[in-house]
């Protein structure tokens, strides 16, 4: 399965890019995080502490247990600070 993975704010800065396309068999967001952290030290640093990381699957707020079947886009970002 091919997925677009997006990063925002300091996660984008740590990973070093705003988006990437990955080939994955991950069943859930949690599985995907394991694969992404293995890519390089930048990914590992960005995704090592998930307490301060939020995730959206196909632009819907989700969590680590959200299944990725049929997903096309997964985004990682810090807690929002709009308004």
């Amino acid at each position: 399965m091919k997925l677009d993975v997006l990063y925002f704010a300091w996660l984008r800065e740590r990973v070093g890019q705003p988006r990437e396309r990955v080939e994955t068999k991950a069943a859930t967001v949690r599985d995907l995080v394991v694969e992404l952290r293995a890519i390089d030290d930048y990914h590992d640093a960005a995704l090592s502490d998930l307490t301060a990381v939020r995730v959206a699957v196909d632009q819907q707020l989700s969590d680590l247990d959200t299944p990725l079947a049929d997903a096309r886009e997964v985004a990682f970002f810090p807690p929002m600070t709009g308004g």
């Binding site: 970002f77 929002m80 600070t81 709009g82 308004g83």
Partner: protein, 144 residues
């Protein structure tokens, strides 16, 4: 009922010219870039195009239904904003004041913690630092 996400400034006055016809009560909120420390020159707002619009639409739809709003407007800017510039605004129109006030506060509380915006403060030296989310903003949602 309208949602707008834009980098351009907006004019609260102009936005209200046609807002809320037939309502008895109109509430507006505007957020303005504030420099608390005297060391900030601008705010940079990053957002998630696509998700931002759908998240704001979802929040506004829920507010409109819950408080029977006759009109509702949300404008949120992104990009670089100087101190003193308006970041965003919401406006709510309802029959009575309690509905309009509550809907506006609900919109703000959800928008703060559920719309994908991230603020970075730019100092006089050009360095940026990400604004951290406040626990109190997340807590504010529990009252709804």
């Amino acid at each position: 009922m309208a949602i707008r996400v834009q980098s351009e400034p907006f004019d609260l006055s102009a936005e209200l010219a046609d807002f809320g016809a037939g309502a008895g009560a109109i509430v507006t909120f505007s957020g303005i870039v504030r420099d608390d420390t005297g060391a900030m020159v601008a705010l940079e707002l990053e957002h998630y195009p696509g998700m931002t619009e759908s998240a704001l639409t979802d929040i506004a739809d829920r507010a409109a239904e819950r408080w029977n709003l006759t009109d509702c407007l949300v404008i949120h800017r992104h990009g670089r904003l100087a101190v003193g510039e308006a970041i965003m605004m919401v406006a709510t129109a309802a029959r009575h004041r309690a509905e309009a006030f509550q809907a506006a506060e609900y919109l703000m509380d959800y928008l703060k913690s559920r719309a994908p915006f991230w603020k970075r403060e730019i100092g006089r030296d050009g360095a940026g630092s990400w604004v951290e989310a406040k626990g109190s903003d997340e807590d504010a949602l529990t009252r709804w």
